[in-house]
Each structure stands twice: as C-alpha cells, then as structure tokens.
C-alpha cells in the first residue's frame, strides 16, 4: 500500500522507537528500551530482546495474571473437570465463558461443565479465619451435585496470603471421595509477571496429577498429541479434521476440546506436535524425558504452514503410505484455499499489519498475512520469553530472575514401567540430516523483515503512538486493545478470541481468515469517519437549489 510504504521509508524505526519512549520517565524509558527491538538482518545470529519481565506499575499493559493463564487458558478448555475457583467471586466470574475455546460435548451422556462457573465466593470471614473448611465443603457440594471424574481447585490472590493449604484439602477430598480426582493449582494472580507463569503452574499439575494414569490411549496407526492448541473458534476441530483425513490419530490435545481421559493417556502417543511453544514446550520436554516421546514444533496457522506441519509429522513416522496420504490431502485441500486467496489478494496485497498477542500467535499469524500479500511491520508478544522471540538456542543462557524463580520447574526422570523411546538416537540423527530437527524452534524474529519493530509487552500508549506513526492497515491484539485502535480508524482483529470468527487454523481456517481480513480492511465504515461538513467546512458556496 503506497501510503504506508512511504511512511515506512520516511520514518526511520529508530525515530519511531525514540518517539515512543520520549514521554516516559527516565527509569521507565530505560526499561522499555530493552523491550523494543529494531529488527536487523544479522548474519547468523538473532538480535536480543528483553522479555518475560515485570510490567511497570501504572503502565496500561495488555497482560493478565497467573490465574488467568492457569484457569482461563490451560484448564478452561477441558469439558469434564469441575473447575472450582477458590477466592472472592470476581476471578471465577471473569473467567466464565469469556474465552472461545470450543468443546464438542455432543456425545451421548458427555459431561460438560464449561458453561458453569464454580466458586467458593470467599467472604471477609473466610479471609480472616481461613477458607479451607469452605473449600472442602464446596468440593463436597460439587461432588454431590455432579459426581465428576475430576475436580480442580484454583487459588486466587488472597488464598496464598492467608495460608490456605489447597493441596492438602484437595488430597484429603480426593481420598475421601474415592472415585474423583481432586487436585489444586497455586496460581495466585500476583505470581510471575504474566499469564505465562499460570500456564506453567497448570501444565505442571496436569503432568503430575493426570498424565500417565491411563495406558489405554485412543488407538491408531500414527498416534500423536497436539500440545498448545486451545481450540479457539474451533481451530482444533479443523486440525483434527485434517489429521483424521490423513489417518493420523490425535491422542490428546493440550488442552483444546480436551477431556480428562485425553490427559491421562497422553503418555501413550508416539509424537508430540507443539503448536504454542510458549505455553507448553516444557511439557513436551517432560513427556520426552519421562516417557520417551519426541516432539516437533508445528504450526497449523496458514495453509502453507499447515501443509508443512503435516509433512513434518509424516516424515517423522517415515512411512511412505502416510507421506502419500498427506500429499493427497494437501492436494485436495489447497485448490479451494488458493481460489479464495486469489480472489481476495487484489484487495489485500501490499497492506500492512501489526500483531501483538500471546506467546506464539504474533508469530504464527504472520504466515496468514503473508499468504494475503500483507507485510507485518511490527509484532510482539504479550507474555512470551526470549526463546519465543529468538529461538530455543537462547534457553541455556536465560537467567532466572526473582519472578521466575518462584515458578516451579518439575524435575522428571524416565518412568520405570512406561519409558520407551519412540526413536533411537540414530533415527533421530537421520531425521535431522533429512531436515527434520526435533525440538527445534527459531522464534519469531528471524522470519521478520529488517527494520520492523519487535516489541515485548506493548502497552496502550506505545500502541497508539505507533499506529499514529505507521498507520497499519490492520492491528491485531486482544479485546482491551480493540476499540482504542479502532477509534483511530484502523481495523482491529482480535487474535485471542478471534472476535466471533474462526476457525483460522488449517485449510478451511485459512479461507475464513482471508475473508475476514478482506472484510476488515475493506469495510466501508472506515470511510465514514468525517462528516461532509468536516471535510468541507467552508460555507462560501451558497446552497445549490434545483
């Protein structure tokens, strides 16, 4: 889009960065400077960015809290576990049906508690005298009403402070109830620096209390698990459709459209395909160490990326039949995708996008915009770590700060009975030589153009500044950002909730995303911002009668 090109040429990224920082108090400016990176095409290294650090008080951040990451993101999508929030009513209320992680509970007799909000609704006396008794009673009431397979307890801020031992209560009730797995999450909102800590706390407990309980995993020839896919807007449904079409069995999804039994049998899969690296890569590692399941990074966002991911999976299993089937499926699916792309591209070609969301979407969605001929001129994550920006090679060097130190890292070792390496050292080396690197992720930065801005934990002020300066054709973030951006006349697409759209994953998802972006950037409404008398205020010309 010429207008934007021009701006990009005129405005040197350094000026933009400077402009964004100018107004800050010195201390703030210094800290933010480290999280705003001007991408340069370095020989064979990736520029360093500061990430996963505290948000500065008073700065209007996009971030949420640990509870949100734990209860909202990771555990929310599981339909048949009763999730009880232990705390005042708010946290439970706000995380009630507000994410669009869809679930398919249509099977006869299927349980689905996702439409419910369960809370101990702590009152002042509970804060003063402690809430354990109430929690215990709440678990009992939930059990008596629903007799679920599992009950999960989530701690909110005050719980840690008043010293309720939710794990002891959970253990006691699990013991008492007998046929119900009760477990708890110390996901108080103040822990860590963002949702990310919550993901970690959640995944640790899933690994500890659920994985490995059930050796009867979903049968199939090529058995994988999908890690870090949350079925927002039905993404997981589309991915499952494609996998099934290819003859690949999805044993367990962490945690979109998931059920209790999927988690407990996840250790029986032969490959873990990681979608959202940020929220779950450590689970992939633990599954490999404890059960011998290798993992690869995949990305089903973008038709090309989806095809690539399918080929990687096929390559991993190494059987011709599967590779052929995957090619057949891709050949079947792509024409429809390309047809829509071809129809839409003339209206999107050359337009620019900004993406600030999550721990992997800001990266993944650049694929879809590329397929639309759109350029990502700035991007960043809300709660990611350096490895998500720069690649896993930085992991060893990451220093653990005060905030991360408190987030438990589980030490795992091979499971006596269940450890069985799916691939031998040699096979793994062979795969690597054939181009399939296991547990590899290069992060977002390498894929981005030089001169683009990579910004971690972007805040409202910086967003507004940047949009005003760079006038992107579309801006992607979350609900809190949607309308401040749109007030500026720039269409805004939510990439947490997808607004009310989706799926955008896989082939059908690509098609709906193309159409959605077409709708957004070409909506007539952006031409109505000014009234005629605002465009031509002069009254000189007297009225023209018939």
């Amino acid at each position: 889009m010429p207008a934007t090109e021009e701006k990009l040429v005129r405005l040197d990224p350094a000026e933009i960065k400077e402009e964004m920082l100018r107004k800050y108090p010195p201390k703030v400016a210094r800290r933010r400077a480290k999280q705003i990176l001007i991408n340069e095409a370095l020989e064979n290294s990736t520029p360093e960015i500061t990430a996963n650090v505290r948000t500065i008080p008073g700065i209007i951040t996009m971030r949420g809290c640990t509870y949100a990451g734990c209860k909202g993101v990771i555990m929310g999508p599981t339909r048949d576990i009763v999730n009880i929030t232990h705390g005042p009513i708010g946290c439970g209320f706000y995380s009630w049906l507000t994410r669009r992680n869809q679930t398919d509970a249509s099977a006869p007799g299927a349980e689905n508690y996702m439409t419910y909000c369960f809370s101990t609704d702590m009152q002042d006396k509970d804060i003063i005298f402690g809430g354990e008794k109430k929690l215990e009673a709440a678990i009992q009431e939930a059990y008596d009403l629903f007799h679920p397979k599992g009950i999960a307890v989530f701690a909110t801020c005050p719980v840690g402070l008043i010293g309720d031992d939710i794990h002891a209560v959970a253990a006691k009730m699990k013991n008492k109830l007998g046929d119900c797995n009760v477990f708890a999450f110390s996901c108080e909102g103040y822990k860590g620096v963002s949702q990310s800590a919550g993901h970690h706390i959640a995944n640790n407990q899933v690994f500890r209390h659920l994985v490995g309980l059930n050796d009867q995993g979903r049968p199939g020839q090529y058995r994988i698990s999908l890690l870090g896919e949350y079925n927002i807007g039905g993404d997981g449904f589309e991915i499952d459709r494609i996998l099934t079409k290819c003859g690949i069995t999805n044993v367990a999804t962490f945690s979109g459209n998931s059920s209790y039994d999927q988690f407990t049998s996840a250790h029986t899969a032969d490959l873990n395909a990681v979608m959202c690296h940020r929220s779950i890569n450590y689970v992939a590692d633990m599954l490999e160490i404890k059960y011998g399941i290798p993992w690869i990074k995949v990305n089903f966002i973008g038709a090309g990326a989806a095809a690539k991911s399918l080929r990687k999976i096929a390559q991993y299993f190494g059987e011709q039949a599967l590779m052929d089937r995957v090619e057949e499926v891709i050949a079947e699916e792509m024409p429809a995708v390309e047809a829509v792309a071809a129809e839409v591209r003339p209206r999107t070609e050359g337009k620019t996008a900004m993406l600030f969301v999550g721990g992997s979407r800001a990266h993944h969605y650049q694929e879809l915009f590329k397929e639309l001929g759109m350029r990502t001129i700035s991007a960043g994550y809300e709660f990611a770590h350096r490895d998500d920006y720069e690649g896993r090679q930085v992991l060893p060097g990451l220093k653990v700060d005060a905030d991360s130190r408190n987030i438990e890292e589980i030490e795992v070792e091979p499971d006596q009975s269940r450890y069985s390496p799916r691939k031998s050292e040699e096979e793994i080396k062979a795969l690597a030589e054939a181009g399939l690197q296991l547990k590899k992720y290069d992060g977002m930065i390498p894929g981005m153009e030089s001169g683009t801005l990579v910004i971690d934990d972007l805040n409202q002020y910086e967003a507004e500044k940047m949009v005003e300066m760079l006038k992107p054709d579309i801006f992607c973030a979350g609900i809190k950002e949607k309308f401040s951006v749109q007030k500026l006349g720039i269409p805004m697409k939510q990439l947490h909730s997808y607004d009310s759209g989706g799926p955008y994953a896989g082939f059908k998802g690509a098609i709906s995303f193309y159409r959605e972006i077409d709708r957004l950037v070409n909506s007539k409404v952006w031409g109505y911002l000014k009234a005629p008398w605002q465009e031509n205020p002069e009254l000189s010309a007297s009225y023209v009668w018939e």
């Binding site: 209007i60 708010g90 689905n112 951006v485 500026l488």
Partner: protein
C-alpha cells in the same frame, strides 16, 4: 443442553456458588470512576484484576476502557504495594496526564492491608501528583458485598471531594446509581425539562457511548468535573437513586456537608419516574412542563394499548438490588408477575422490599439475595415453576435457550447485544423502550408458537 447438569431438585448449598449473579467490588469502582471527567481508574492489585475489569467493561460497551494497575508481584504482595502505587501514580500522571486518578483496592491489597490515604498522601508529598490534579480512592475488598458495593464506595470517594463554602449553589445533587450512559443522559434531559439544575455524579454519558471519528480520546468530553463535585457540598439537597448504589454517598454529604438527602428508587418505570420528577419539581419549586406530562402519557398509553399481551405474564429476573426493585415495581404496576428473583448482592432488606412490592400476587415470589442466590438456583426455580419471560444480563441466555424462554437483556453485563449504550431504560422514554422490548419478546414468541389458524395479523 448447555446447562445439562442442572437438576430440578434444589439442594442446600452453603459453600459453592454456581453461575453467580454478581461479581466483585473493584469493577464497580472502575465503572463509577469512568463517570468522572478526565479520570483514569487505577486498580491497586495484581494486573489480572485490571485486565478482567477492562475486558468486561469493554465487551459491555464496545468502547475502549483505560485503567492502570499496580501490577503486584509476589514481592509486593509480601512487602506491601506502596512502592508499586507510588510508581504507578508517577507514571500515570507523566504518561497519560489525567486530571484525576481514582484508585481502588482489590482482595490482594486489602488482605495485605495497604493504607491508601497514607500512600496517596505520600505521593502528594513526594510531588508525584501534579498540582491541580487529584487522586481519589475507594476501599473495595472483593470479598465483601459485590460490584454494586464497589460502585457505591467509589461514588462515596467522589463525594469526599465536596466542599462547603456556606453559599448554597441552588442545585440538586443527583446520584443516578449504576445505570447506563444513556440513562444518565436521560436523567439530565429530564431534569433540564423539569427545570431543575442538578449535579449528576457519576456521569458516564459521552464517555462510554462515544463516537467513531478517527481519534482516540483517552479522556473524552463528558463526566462530572472536579469543580462540580466540589460544589456538590453547596447543593440544596441530594437525591440518591437506589439504596445500594447511591445512598452511602448521599448520607456522607448529609453528615459532612449538611446537604440533606432523600433516597429514591432508580427512575425505571412509571411510578419511580413519577416520584423522581415530583421530587425534582418540589425541590426546585418549578411546575412540571407539558412536555413531561406528554412523555408520561405516552407511556401510560402504551401500557393500556398492549396490556392484554403482558397481563399476568410470569417473569424471572436476575440482577442488582436497586435495578431489580425498580423493575419489579414497574412489572407489577403493569399487571405482570415477577416470579423468581435473584441477586448475588446480599441484603435482607432487598428480599423484604420485593415481597412488599409483590404482596398482591396470588402466590409468594421466590426471591433471594445472598451468596447462594445465583443463576443456578434461578434456573432450578424456573424448572420447578416455568415463566414466560427472562429479564437479566447476557448470562441468562444459557437458561433461555435450554428452557426455550424469551430473554430481555437488561442489566450488567450485556455482552452480546448493542443498544443499551444508546437508548435509556430510565424515565418515561425508558419505560417505552422496556415495554417495547418485553412486547417484542412475548409477541415474537407468540408469532412463532401460534397455530396457523390463530396466527394474528393485528396485535
């Protein structure tokens, strides 16, 4: 079924709340603060609270909601949040340049015991508050009351700005309670029609129903100003609309500024609006203009015209005390039968008021205001005793679909429809709108269900 696990049989619950008919204090404080001109609400707690409140308000209004947070870390929650708040205040005034920062606490900072007045005072002493700028506050422990309580507390925080010069300003303070921007606008319009000069606070009109014009105003026109609030101490009186939302602030002005007050219901429906208008005209010593009588008469007219369609229709409602009281009176006044009511905001007085308002019904209504008064219980009541209509927030849509009962969206939050931002439900015009919505719900259902032989052209 969406709520397939809800049994008809009601069992006593003392610890577990399911599908709450309330949320926590801070969001109420945040909403109230947005009704103050040039104000940035600030959440003193973990950043998640702020994120949740902003998200919920954004979904309800489809408007940007700006608010700051103290972004507590584990350290802060051990050593206290003073440092965070001081830093936040400095950053906010430097970067966003609001005229006021309205700080509210959270369960976290309340449990720690942070002392807001002291911290704010310190911020002032340290020059972190530019001259002419204000920091007001409210203690809003999430584990006490509900979002309604938080709203009331922040409104009281505003009242603390009132000053008494000893010279009456001839105005009437009107505290509208938790109503929509469009409602606040309508209250101002009505008062202006009557000819009563008022100071309305909070006032979110123009702030949460703003235009799309190509510019983002973090602090739009609109809202009650600091100088108006200061002058509220010189008003001739205060009309507090709603015991739960507005009374505390009104009584504070009475006690501290000798501004007498009267607690009225929110002017929803004919009778409550009559009382509001009557109060205004007596206080201001004006006579009500024909225009108001005309609007009133239009509402009476629609009630009589369509009476046959809502007569003795049973309604289940969930919401907040002040709103439910006014709505219940309205429904009863047009011969409808509010049958089940829940609010998560505790209050025996509420239950009693509802019983009084529904005393003439041929049966005793189900009404509860406490922790276990949630949508799960409401749903169970409905399964036992079906109703013709649901009135409440968007979360009722799950019951509506499962039980196939039409739903009129009203209250907070409305996450899946628009209109509440722009069209009032208070006043006589608001009554017309409510009636239209109720009738549309009932008549659409009738058109859907009537056998072909009695499908009606004229209704």
């Amino acid at each position: 079924m969406l709520l397939r696990h809800t049994p008809e049989e009601i069992s006593l619950r003392q610890a577990l709340t399911i599908n709450p008919a309330k949320t926590c204090q801070p969001i109420g404080a945040m909403y109230a603060a947005l009704g103050l001109h040039g104000c940035l609400p600030h959440s003193h707690g973990s950043q998640g609270c702020c994120a949740y409140h902003r998200s919920t308000l954004t979904r309800h209004y489809k408007e940007p909601i700006s608010a700051g947070t103290s972004s507590f870390t584990e350290g802060a929650s051990v050593f206290g949040g003073q440092a965070n708040l001081l830093q936040a205040i400095e950053n906010i005034f430097t970067v966003y340049e609001p005229e006021v920062v309205a700080v509210h606490t959270t369960c976290l900072s309340e449990t720690i015991g942070d002392d807001l007045p002291q911290i704010i005072d310190k911020a002032g002493k340290e020059g972190k508050i530019p001259s002419g700028r204000q920091v007001i506050y409210a203690n809003t422990p999430s584990y006490v009351g509900s979002h309604v309580t938080g709203f009331a507390n922040m409104v009281k925080g505003m009242a603390r700005l009132a000053e008494s010069t000893g010279h009456k300003n001839g105005k009437v303070n009107v505290i509208p309670g938790w109503v929509e921007p469009a409602d606040m606008e309508e209250i101002k319009r009505l008062a202006a029609l009557v000819g009563a000069p008022i100071i309305l606070f909070p006032d979110t009109s123009g702030i949460l129903n703003g235009p799309l014009s190509g510019e983002f105003k973090m602090f739009p026109e609109g809202g009650v100003t600091i100088s108006q609030l200061k002058s509220a101490g010189d008003s001739v009186g205060t009309l507090a609309l709603g015991e739960w939302c507005s009374a505390e602030a009104a009584r504070y002005l009475d006690a501290n500024n000798k501004v007498p007050c009267r607690i009225l219901d929110i002017p929803i429906g004919l009778k409550a609006t009559d009382r509001f208008v009557d109060a205004l005209r007596i206080i201001s010593g004006v006579s009500v203009p024909e225009e108001v009588n005309h609007e009133r008469g239009q509402l009476v007219d629609m009630i009589s015209d369509m009476h046959q369609y809502f007569y003795h229709q049973k309604v289940a409602l969930a919401g907040d005390p002040d709103q439910l009281i006014a709505m219940t009176e309205f429904l009863v006044s047009i011969d409808m039968w509010p049958t089940h009511l829940v609010t998560g905001t505790p209050g025996k007085a509420f239950e009693q008021r509802i019983r009084d308002l529904t005393a003439e019904l041929p049966y005793e209504v189900n009404v509860k205001a406490e922790q276990s008064a949630d949508l799960f219980l409401l749903h169970q009541w409905i399964k036992k005793e079906p109703v013709d209509l649901l009135i409440g927030n968007t979360y009722l849509k799950y019951i509506a679909r499962d039980e196939d009962i039409p739903l009129v969206r009203w209250g907070f939050p409305i996450l899946d429809r628009v209109g509440h931002q722009y069209f009032p439900t208070v006043g006589y015009k608001g009554g017309l709108r409510l009636l239209e919505k109720v009738l549309t719900a009932l008549l659409d259902r009738k058109d859907r269900d009537d056998p072909e032989q009695s499908f009606e052209l004229v209704m």
